[in-house]
């Protein structure tokens, strides 16, 4: 068996001798993200099918491009009624049917109608920063993307995750979300399974997880981490990643 070890240095030099000199130093200032993200925009149009209204706006995988994009487009609060923004990992379509979402669900944050001015853009930006910055501990891979629905009857911000059956993962993700968005305990976050939402007959879906839990009894599938994090969930303490 032949084994070839390609060392980092060796690779760059073997690939192109001039690489060393041709890499512009300014390239070093780019800050790559863990994932490449796609921003989608849904412009409400009753005359068109839902999918036809959905447009992929841009892809980015650096901090720089993230801000370029964010700073140059309308904030969520500035969108027309009925519009949506979606920020999903590259390759995941922002719909239930996508293979990455079909088993998944979402943490739903309902934006108080009276306080939409101050809350909507704050929630959306905090959520975006949390997902592109991989702030969900070791569970970043379970995150599919984020959605904001701008609606007259009440805006919604949600975080979509991949596997609705992993209560431990989703609970932790929910706790981080709650903390990042500084959502008080008085507001209950709900985790809804996509399958339930698509099969629903009424306007409400029975949530799989609530945060804080509605009943005092803790969730059945408790993880070692959840007991400590439940205690801190309400208070906006700095994250563990803080240097």
């Amino acid at each position: 068996m032949t084994t070839s070890v390609v060392e980092n240095n060796a690779l760059s030099s073997s690939g192109d001798v001039k690489t060393e000199t041709s890499i512009p130093p300014e390239l070093l200032t780019r800050h790559p993200l863990q994932n490449r993200w796609a921003l989608w925009y849904l412009k409400a149009d009753r005359n068109k099918e839902w999918e036809d209204c959905l447009k992929m706006v841009s892809l980015f995988d650096t901090v720089e491009d993230f801000w370029s994009l964010y700073n140059h487009i309308q904030s969520a609060g500035g969108l027309n009624w009925g519009s949506d923004y979606y920020l999903f990992k590259e390759g995941i379509k922002p719909m239930w049917e996508d293979i990455n979402n079909v088993q998944g669900g979402r943490w739903l944050v309902v934006v108080d109608k009276q306080r939409r001015q101050q809350l909507l853009d704050h929630y959306w930006l905090e959520l975006l920063m949390a997902i592109v910055g991989e702030q969900f501990d070791e569970f970043g891979d379970y995150v599919c993307g984020a959605v904001v629905n701008v609606r007259q009857k009440g805006d919604k911000v949600s975080l979509w995750t991949r596997d609705a059956t992993r209560d431990d993962v989703n609970l932790r993700i929910g706790q981080v979300l709650k903390q990042k968005l500084s959502i008080p305990d008085s507001e209950i976050l709900r985790y809804e399974v996509h399958k339930d939402s698509s099969a629903r007959t009424s306007s409400t879906v029975k949530p799989r997880i609530c945060l804080p839990a509605k009943d005092p009894a803790p969730p059945k599938e408790k993880t070692p981490g959840s007991s400590t994090s439940t205690a801190t969930a309400g208070s906006p303490t700095p994250t563990s990643e803080t240097p």
């Binding site: 070890v5 390609v6 192109d16 300014e26 901090v63 370029s68 390759g91 990643e241």
Partner: protein, 512 residues
Amino acid sequence: MLHNYDVANDFGQKMQMGGMQQQQMQQTPRNTLLSVDQQLQLMNTINNMVRASQFTSQLANTIFTLCAQLKTSGSMLEQSHKNELNKVFTSLRQACCRDNGQLGTPCRLKIMELVELRAMNWRTNLAHSQYYVNRPEGQHDPAPTVGIPQSSGQSTSPQSVTSPVPQSPQPPMQFVPPNPMMFQDPMGGAPNPGGIFFIPAASTWMNPLMPMPPNPFLPHSMIPPDHQMFLRQRSLNKKPNLMNKTLQLRHEMIIRNSDSGKIMGVKGRRVAAVEQLTNTVISFQKVDAKSKERTLTITASTMEDIERAKDMIIDTIRRNMSPIRTDMSIPPPMPHSEVSSTTNPIPQPSQEDDEEDEDEDIKLEQTSDGKLTFHCDDPELLAAAQEALSAYLRVRARPSAEEREKKKERRKSMPLQQTAHQQEPVMLKPSKTFHGSTPNLADGLAATTTVVMASTVPVGGGHAGQIHHQQGGDPIRYNREHLMTARDTLQTQIPQEMLKEITRVAPDILIA
């Protein structure tokens, strides 16, 4: 009362009088109950004959026999042999669609009676039995109808098809006028036995004094002008208030249940449009969600309308065929040309190597010190893989001239280099590892997200062009402060390509 009459009698006697050549049915008069096995055998015979398109009198007789049996045993079989029933009903429907009249009108009527009976859960009602008992189809039958008990002296003696008018203009309570369910082409005059099925609107033929529910099978529509002959007959019946009901052509088509949504469209708009355009009524059979098939009934007053509706439905299905799911590990092509040029090189070679990968011919490993290791039995393959990776990294590392210009611009006013150094510990800090509780998920992710990434962040003292293999390693994290600092210090000049793309796709969200 009328509804107590066993219609099976009718056919039992007919059969005996008609003297048609039979097989086993000859020994078993239709009014005696056969065993379940015998009935299942009948069903089998029907299924086979319909499949073979043998629309013979034998098939007709078998159908008659089965119908007579099912009247009594239907509800029982519904419990015990639902599948068999479903099958034979499909066959019966197919027989109606395919035969060119060989089966004869009475047989078709029988089938319809049966279909309706089943739809009513095998519970007959007065209106239903009356309708069929008093049909004048006897004239088409080889054996004339006899033995239908009549409660009054006014019997329904055989009449010519062209004037199926009751003798008495004011029928008494129990009497229902015979009606011409099956016309021998009343417009053209050319006999077209069994070719076109005319169904009068339901209540037309019922005694007006008798309370009865409207027949759900039969929609009403406006009278086409060429049905005047029928109208004349209607007027003879002195029911001018029913003038707006008319003959209808009905056609059934079987679709895949999963296509229902396509045909209906959002909130049924599509099917409504088809109905409007073709002047038809399209109804969907109620089926279980798990059902594979679904029957559509298209009702219209002309055959052309039905055909047009059918074409539109078929076209709808064809044009909305679900795309064949491709391997999700290949990211969909992106409209962003600049981006795709950098991403393509890696998925392609790796895709080509996939087969080898599965055979364990080539192995990719990453060591903790950031080395990327290939193992392979074939040195050529190894070289190719290495070349592919190098090419990918080159492409990633070398931005377009335009982009380089822009970055130079950016650097001048940006102290981000420094920030980056401050972030180093954060980015290199071995954070919680992705433990192997979900290996499949991790693998899947590796396939969908970046496999190998050339990190341009200065790592370990700023070796330019160092390779940082992300898979399974620590994710690159930025917390809120980092991102906000980057936002403040960055001169956020939007890349030209991004601007172009947004302008093209969604100009309305762009802030000037």
